[in-house]
C-alpha cells in the first residue's frame, strides 16, 4: 500500500473516531430528571405496550396524582425533539407541580429515539445548557424524527394507518404523523399506539402536545384544536391575551390531514386534544448558523430583516424569541386549558399549583425551576 493511502486511512480513522465518539456519547447521554414533590409514581410507555420494553423508543411517564379524585390531563413534550420548549415546560411541571385534585400524566420525551439523534446536514448543536442557580443543566438537542438506528429503512411513501392517507416517507419516523398507531406496526406507530392505550385505560380527559414552530410558518404561536376542543381553546386564547398580555391564536385542526395528535386523539378517544406552538426562530431556514446561543435567545439578523419586510407570522424585533418566553407561554396556556376544562366539568376538575406562569418564567428564567440532581435523593432522580 502506498504511503498516500496509509496517510488517508489514518486521517479517515481520526475523523471517524472523533465524530463517532461524539455521536455515540450524545445517543447515550442520560438526562437526569428530579421527580418533584407531586410525582406519585413513574412508569414507562411499555407498561401499555409490552413489545416496546427494552427498545430505545420506550420512555418514562411521570404520574402526579392528587389526594382527591378528579379528571386527568396528559402532557407530551419532545414529540419533536428539536423543539425543546416542550421538553423544558414538561420538566418544569414534573419537578415543581403539586396536584391537589385529579391527575397529571407527563411524558417529557415522547419521541425518546428522536431525542438521541441529530439532524444530518443542518449543523445542530448536540447539546444545549440551561443556566440554573446551582450550575448549568445539560440537555440533548434532538431531531424532529426518530433515529434511523431505531427505525430503518424508511418506506418510499408512508401510508398512514388506519386512514391510508399517503404521507411523506420521512413522516414514518415522526410521531406527530403516526397517531393513533397500531400494536404491530413500525416502532413509531407502536409509540403512539401505547399512548392511545394510556389515554383510554387511564380515562384521560385532556391531552396537551407541546411544540415549537418556525416564525415563517403560519401555524405558529397558536393552539391547534379540533372541533371538540375549539371552544375551550378560544376561551384560553382570549384569557391569556387579556390577563397575561401575549398572543396565542387558535388554529383549527384540518379534518383531512391524518396522523396528527390534535386530529387522531380527538377522533379515536374521548379525550380533548390541544397542540401548542411557540415560535422557535432556530427552525427557520434563512438564518445564520444554528448555534446553541441562537437556540436559546432566538435572535437572528436575517430574520430581523425579513420581519421588516413583513415576511414573518409573529412579531419579531432585536429581543428575538428567547426560551423563557416560549416556555412561559406554554406553561401559562397549559395551566389555562386545565383551568378552563375544570371550570366547565367540575366533577372532572384538575387542580394544580406551584407551576410558574409566563411572567414568572420570563423574570426568573427557565433554569430557576430545575432542581440539582446531585442534591436530590437518589431514588427521586430518573435518567431519561
Amino acid at each position: 500500500m502506498s504511503r498516500v493511502k496509509i496517510i488517508l486511512l489514518a486521517i479517515l480513522t481520526i475523523i471517524l473516531t472523533i465524530s463517532g465518539v461524539q455521536l455515540y456519547r450524545h445517543r447515550h447521554y442520560p438526562l437526569p430528571v428530579v421527580a418533584g414533590p407531586g410525582v406519585t409514581h413513574v412508569g414507562r410507555l411499555s407498561d401499555y405496550l409490552p413489545s416496546l420494553k427494552g427498545t430505545m423508543p420506550d420512555t418514562l411517564i411521570f404520574f402526579l396524582e392528587g389526594r382527591e379524585p378528579g379528571g386527568k390531563a396528559l402532557i407530551l413534550g419532545n414529540t419533536h425533539a428539536n423543539e425543546p420548549e416542550g421538553l423544558l415546560a414538561a420538566l418544569i411541571m414534573v419537578e415543581n407541580a403539586l396536584v391537589e385534585k385529579g391527575t397529571l400524566v407527563i411524558i417529557p420525551q415522547f419521541n425518546h429515539s428522536a431525542s438521541r439523534t441529530t439532524r444530518p446536514g443542518d449543523g445542530y448543536p448536540l447539546y444545549f445548557d440551561i443556566p440554573t442557580p446551582w450550575g448549568k443543566k445539560r440537555f440533548r438537542m434532538g431531531n424532529r424524527d426518530a433515529s434511523p438506528l431505531d427505525q430503518w429503512p424508511d418506506p418510499d411513501v408512508y401510508i398512514h394507518y388506519p386512514e391510508r392517507q399517503l404521507l411523506s416517507f420521512i413522516d414514518a419516523r415522526n410521531v406527530n404523523r403516526t397517531w393513533p398507531g397500531r400494536s404491530n406496526g413500525l416502532p413509531m406507530e407502536k409509540v403512539t399506539f401505547a399512548a392511545m392505550e394510556l389515554i383510554k385505560k387511564e380515562k384521560v380527559d385532556v391531552v396537551i402536545d407541546i411544540h415549537g414552530a418556525e416564525t415563517m410558518f403560519p401555524v405558529t404561536n397558536c393552539i391547534v384544536a379540533p372541533e371538540k376542543s375549539a371552544k375551550l381553546a378560544t376561551m384560553v386564547s382570549l384569557t391569556v391575551k387579556a390577563m397575561e398580555k401575549f398572543d396565542n391564536h387558535v388554529e383549527p385542526s384540518p379534518p383531512k390531514f391524518r396522523g396528527l395528535s390534535h386530529r387522531e386523539i380527538g377522533d379515536y378517544s374521548e379525550a380533548m386534544p390541544f397542540l401548542l406552538e411557540a415560535p422557535i426562530p432556530f427552525l427557520d431556514q434563512p438564518t445564520g448558523p444554528k448555534t446553541e446561543k441562537f437556540l436559546l435567545d432566538g435572535k437572528d439578523p436575517f430574520l430581523l430583516r425579513l420581519a421588516g419586510k413583513k415576511k414573518l407570522f409573529v412579531p419579531y424585533d432585536e429581543s428575538g424569541w428567547p426560551m423563557e418566553k416560549r416556555v412561559g407561554q406554554h406553561l401559562s396556556v397549559t395551566l389555562e386549558i386545565i383551568r378552563q376544562f375544570s371550570r366547565r366539568t367540575p366533577e372532572r376538575a384538575i387542580l394544580i399549583r406551584d407551576v410558574p406562569r409566563y411572567a414568572e418564567v420570563v423574570e426568573k428564567g427557565v433554569g430557576y425551576y430545575f432542581h440539582d440532581p446531585a442534591q436530590a435523593p437518589k431514588e427521586r432522580v430518573y435518567l431519561n
Binding site: S2, V4, K5, L8, L9, I11, L12, I15, L16, S19, G20, L23, Y24, R27, T117, P120, P148, L149, W152, P153, L186
Partner: protein, 52 residues
Amino acid sequence: MDKIVMVFYYLLTALVAAVVFWNFWLEKKNVDRMVLYLLVLVPFILRLLRVK
C-alpha cells in the same frame, strides 16, 4: 418482517461499503479519487457501527 428488511439493509450497507473500499484499494495514482472514496465511506461505516 420489518426487522428482516432492516437486516437486509445493513447487509446492503456492508456490501456498498466493501465495494467503495475496494475501489479505494484499487486506485493507484489519483489522490482526489482516493479521498472521494473515503469520504463516501464515512456514513456507511457510521451506520454499520450503529453510531449514526
